[in-house]
């Protein structure tokens, strides 16, 4: 190849790239509308997650390491507590949410609209404020303890122990700064996420299917077990995911309602990224495990039925 042809080739290179880019856009004109967003997703969705993976498997200064994951073992109680409290909160949400969803879907259309709006309304209030509201109820000198004191509950308990010399009289129940308070905060914040998807599925069940079951001799219990519940399963599954995922990852609820005494996974991650124990490598490793938990949760959900997230969005 002569020197001149080489230089002309290199001169036309940008032009050629431009031309082929233009040809590409011409060919995929209809699809090209999505290109800016694909670039955006690559930058701000995919790369950040890759960064989490990279950080999780490296340490500051040194290269590849599994140290971060072995370091997590000392936080096993936090993992256990986080999963346990999130599971309890999800179970409570289901136990309350399902019958409520069922009751709502049996109301007439007009009432249903209003009731659903009332379920959604608290969700529109900043969840920090919703959680803050419970602080003033649960405090040692909070409204619940005051009400119990006014009713004479503590006097009654103290009088029962009047003969016990080692007994110290109580003036309040310890409500705030307990696991129970954190679960309560989760249930309070995420209960609508359970009610709405279940209700949206139950309300779509063809009433004739239920009638048919009744005509074939099924009693109310059997109708529920064999018809309504199986048909509402997709709503239940998405409800469970929508409660469990935020519950297992929260750090605000535990911060506000336990003042740091109940430490959850979210608190642990938050500490690694903002607190005095700044260690994004360990934080990324914990985040990665949390993501794995979420993915497992989602794949279980996908197995049972398609999601109903949109039902809750408005």
């Amino acid at each position: 190849m002569s020197k001149t042809s080489l230089s002309s080739w290199s001169e036309s290179k940008p032009l050629r790239i431009l031309r082929s880019a233009r040809a590409f856009l011409e060919r995929y004109r209809k699809q090209s509308f999505a290109f800016p967003y694909i670039l955006w997703m690559a930058l701000f969705v995919v790369i950040p997650i890759i960064l989490i993976v990279v950080y999780a498997f490296t340490s500051a200064g040194n290269g590849f390491t599994l140290k971060n994951f072995s370091g997590i073992i000392s936080y096993a109680p936090v993992f256990g507590r986080s999963l346990w409290l999130a599971l309890v909160a999800t179970a409570v949400c289901l136990l309350i949410g399902y019958p409520v969803a069922l009751a709502i879907s049996r109301m007439n259309i007009k009432t249903q609209r209003i009731v659903l709006m009332l379920v959604m309304l608290p969700m529109w209030i900043n969840f920090l404020l919703r959680t803050y509201a419970w602080m003033s109820l649960l405090e040692n000198t909070g409204l619940i303890n005051r009400a119990l004191a006014a009713l004479g509950v503590f006097d009654l308990i103290n009088s029962l122990h009047a003969n016990d010399l080692n007994y110290t009289p109580i003036t309040h129940f310890q409500l705030i700064n307990t696991n129970g308070a954190v679960v309560l905060g989760m249930v309070y914040n995420y209960l609508p996420f359970m009610i709405l998807p279940i209700q949206s599925v139950i309300v779509k069940i063809d009433p004739f299917v239920i009638e048919a079951a009744e005509d074939l001799g099924a009693d109310r219990g059997t109708v529920f077990r064999k018809v309504i519940f199986p048909l509402s399963l997709s709503g239940v599954i998405s409800g469970i995911t929508m409660v469990f995922v935020p519950a297992v990852s929260t750090f605000v609820i535990s911060k506000l309602l336990s003042n740091g005494t109940v430490m959850l996974l979210g608190d642990l991650i938050e500490m690694q990224f903002t607190g005095s124990a700044y260690n994004p490598h360990l934080g990324s490793a914990i985040s990665l495990i949390m993501m794995a938990i979420v993915v497992i949760c989602m794949s279980i959900m996908n197995k049972f039925g398609e999601g109903e997230e949109q039902a809750v969005m408005m």
């Binding site: 699809q31 049996r106 409204l143």
Partner: protein
């Protein structure tokens, strides 16, 4: 399916007490003349006055509104175009892209926030910038776009496929087809997505917390800082104001919707006479 369901209705009523009692307590104590959150000592509007005088809260409110409006608008534009692009893709391209699109929706907020902060901090070291309003805005646009796409895509699928061809047969270029035919048709979906994106942005705390840095503060972050310091009835006053705004907005939206519904019903009833 109308049966007597007393047990269920009682449980529903109790659930509503559970959901609303804390909010009502919060509102009532915003008018309390002492600082106590539990003992009532008389009516006052002082906390509201102080709230409006609190420059920190007011500037954080400004930040929240600014970032939410900008992010929602940007997300509506990028998201609508992206949805049209996705709609025209073959399924084997669309499905994985929609899956990536769903990541910020599905993922726990804390992970979205933390991963973005990792990106911003490490890119900031290389390029030389710090966490601030810019990174906050990018983060908000990132988690807003999926909601726009999720509300625009169904509208696109409701369209008649032939609409594209008809417009082009009648002489529209591809771009004219988009902005003269398609965009007006999917407008309700875009507006819906815009509103969802806006509320998501206003409501967000976790992602902002990790991506805004120390120089910028949204209202949620200001509230968080206040709750950590505990007693301040100003928080109750903010809650009451926000609750009232949300309530009014929801009532307006619902009244409008039911009015439109009634109009649509009326039209449907009159249709046979016209034909």
């Amino acid at each position: 399916m109308k049966r007597k369901n007393t047990g269920g209705n009682i449980l529903t009523a109790l659930t509503f007490i559970f959901l609303y009692a804390p909010i009502i307590v919060l509102i009532v104590f915003s008018f309390n003349s002492s600082k106590s959150r539990t003992i009532w000592s008389g009516f006052t509007l002082d906390w509201y006055r102080e709230l409006f005088r609190d420059s920190l809260i007011m500037s954080s409110l400004e930040t929240t509104l600014l970032v939410s409006v900008l992010a929602a608008l940007a997300a509506a534009v990028i998201g609508t175009f992206a949805a049209i692009g996705f709609y025209n893709m073959k399924k084997h391209w669309r499905s994985p892209l929609l899956m990536i699109n769903n990541i910020p929706v599905i993922n726990a907020d804390i992970i979205t926030g933390v991963s973005l902060s990792l990106l911003f901090v490490s890119a900031g070291v290389v390029i030389g910038f710090e966490l601030g309003f810019g990174t906050l805005l990018i983060a908000h646009i990132t988690f807003d776009i999926p909601y726009v796409i999720l509300s625009v895509m169904p509208k696109l699928y409701q369209l008649d496929r032939n609409l594209f061809e008809a417009a082009q047969d009648l002489g529209c270029t591809w771009f004219q087809t988009i902005y003269k035919v398609i965009i007006p048709e999917i407008m309700p979906g875009i507006i819906n997505g815009l509103l969802i994106a806006f509320t998501m942005s206003v409501d967000d705390f976790v992602i902002s917390y990790f991506t805004a840095g120390s120089s910028v503060q949204t209202l949620s972050m200001a509230i968080y800082a206040m709750t950590r310091k505990r007693i301040s009835p100003k928080i109750n006053a903010i809650s009451t104001l926000l609750f009232t705004v949300v309530l009014i907005l929801l009532v307006i939206v619902n009244v409008r919707e039911s009015r439109q519904q009634r109009k649509a019903d009326l039209k449907r009833e009159q249709m046979p006479e016209e034909v």
